[in-house]
């Protein structure tokens, strides 16, 4: 029960707080707010939250199912390849006399080397399989049709670039299988009329398998093609976010057409 205050001279009466003079902000509160304050600070200067909302909170059609995760699965396979590849590059030596030895060193001596190299090796196969499953999903669901044709084309280029990665990466362990597979692969390139012979010379860095072939393949594998892959994956995802996904073909439009029927 609250008692009324005794009559006091106005000088002694407690003054109401002036506007803006609230509780002092304690350091603990500042610490609590630090995260959101940082995000706010960045967002105020970049407006990233809008882009993020546009990307992440999209409407998806009815019937969206597990098959729609194959594209993301491919993306994560690529990320796994990128991360393991970067760390493998720290131990790998792309010189013809040292390559096999350095790959052997990764597998046999380096801590977790066999595991990371195995992830990169088997992950490449997983990525190719996932790409084809994803491609099959898009094909059988009819998701390549208008207005998504360009995304199909970009996806096809991504497939070709992934195959280029597989081809150039196959040489890098530099064992017998790598060597002869590359000889065969480059010679298949050479069967293209007119340009074929020059293309295979360009790939090898000369008329025969020479001193620069391995480092060429290494540069293509870790610099040239990944750059293209990352750029095109960005374009691919942008178009997915912009155009949305398609409903599976077994989902029919559900609007009530009864009163739209035209009667003559």
């Amino acid at each position: 029960m609250k008692l009324p205050l005794p009559p006091l001279p106005s000088a002694l009466q407690p003054k109401p707080k002036r506007p803006g003079e609230g509780e002092r902000v304690k350091p603990i509160d500042q610490a609590k707010e630090a995260g959101i304050a940082t995000v706010d600070w960045i967002d105020e200067r970049t407006s990233l939250s809008g882009a993020l909302r546009w990307t992440m909170f999209r409407k998806v059609p009815k019937g969206t199912n597990w098959f729609y995760t194959l594209g993301s699965a491919t993306l994560f396979a690529f990320l796994s390849q990128a991360v393991t590849g970067v760390f493998l590059a720290m131990y790998y030596d792309p010189s013809p006399v040292r390559a096999y030895e350095s790959a052997r060193h990764i597998t046999n001596d380096v801590f977790l080397g066999e595991f990371v190299r195995g992830m990169h090796k088997w992950g490449s196969t997983v990525m190719v399989i996932l790409i084809f499953l994803h491609m099959g999903r898009v094909f059988f669901f009819g998701a390549y049709k208008y207005p998504r044709e360009l995304n199909w084309v970009i996806g096809s280029v991504l497939l070709i670039l992934t195959m280029t990665m597989s081809f150039t990466g196959y040489l890098l362990p530099f064992d017998q299988r790598s060597y002869w597979a590359t000889i065969v692969g480059v010679n298949i390139n050479g069967t293209g009329p007119i340009v074929g012979p020059f293309l295979s010379d360009f790939l090898r860095g000369g008329a025969g398998f020479g001193a620069t072939t391995l480092s060429r393949f290494y540069a293509i594998h870790m610099l040239l093609v990944p750059g293209g892959l990352i750029a095109l994956i960005g374009a691919h995802l942008y178009l997915v976010a912009r155009l949305g996904t398609t409903a599976p073909p077994w989902i029919k439009p559900s609007h009530d057409t009864g009163h739209l029927e035209e009667r003559v």
Binding site: V186, G190, G196, P197
Partner: protein
């Protein structure tokens, strides 16, 4: 009359009432600046792209290693009814990877075509082990007197001509010579099924009969003798 959107504008800036226009001037200053800036950008990009491309492609397409002759032993080491394998260095400086096997025998007038070109003193025949299907290494099988490729089943007869399987032309050969009793192996060359010689050797799988010799051109430069 109000100027309509579809009225054709005069190409002279003077007629279009632009401030500071000169007589006979057709390019506006905005347009000139635009073209100049874009052009400068194009020049800057070309300045690093063209040298980089030339760097990547030039030595691969235009440079040839110098001709070397490698001694592989005295002439008496070789006979004319079977092949003796010898290892030579095709690309120096890269260890085992730069080595290749050649199959060597003495020339046999009974089975070998006349020397090509005439007058070429070919006393030793040296065959490359590169299968002319896709480049795997062939092996000489003594029992059948055939060269057999392990990859896709290419078979060549004793002279290196295709006997079966997918290869498109006979096995490549090497120039040979005898110096001071020693057999020496020189540059590689290709032959077609009529034993025509192509000094700029082609990659495997490149047919050299009929239209093949035109759609698979030789390299810009052949090794300097």
């Amino acid at each position: 009359m109000a100027e309509g959107r579809n009225d054709p504008k005069s190409k002279y800036t003077l007629d279009r009432g632009m401030p500071g226009a000169f007589e006979g001037e057709t390019v506006t200053r905005r347009r000139f600046m635009n073209v100049a800036a874009q052009g400068a950008g194009a020049v800057a990009v070309a300045a690093f792209v063209l040298p980089a491309l030339g760097f990547a492609a030039g030595s691969a397409l235009f440079e040839r290693p110098p001709v070397t002759w490698q001694s592989i032993g005295p002439l008496d080491d070789f006979v004319d009814d079977t092949y003796i394998p010898r290892v030579i260095t095709e690309t120096p400086g890269i260890g085992e990877v730069g080595k290749t096997t050649v199959y060597v025998r003495q020339r046999n007038d009974q089975i070998d075509a006349p020397p090509n070109p005439p007058g070429y003193d070919e006393r030793v025949v040296a065959l490359s082990t590169r299968c002319m299907h896709l480049g795997c290494p062939v092996r000489y099988v003594e029992a059948s007197q055939r060269f057999i490729c392990p990859c896709h089943g290419g078979v060549y007869d004793f002279r290196g001509f295709v006997d079966g399987g997918p290869p498109v032309r006979p096995l490549d050969r090497f120039y040979t010579r005898v110096r001071a009793g020693q057999v020496e192996i020189g540059p590689r060359y290709s032959v077609n099924s009529e034993f025509r010689r192509f000094p700029s050797y082609r990659d495997p799988a490149q047919d050299l009969d009929g239209i093949g010799q035109y759609i698979y051109p030789g390299r810009f430069s052949t090794p300097k003798q």
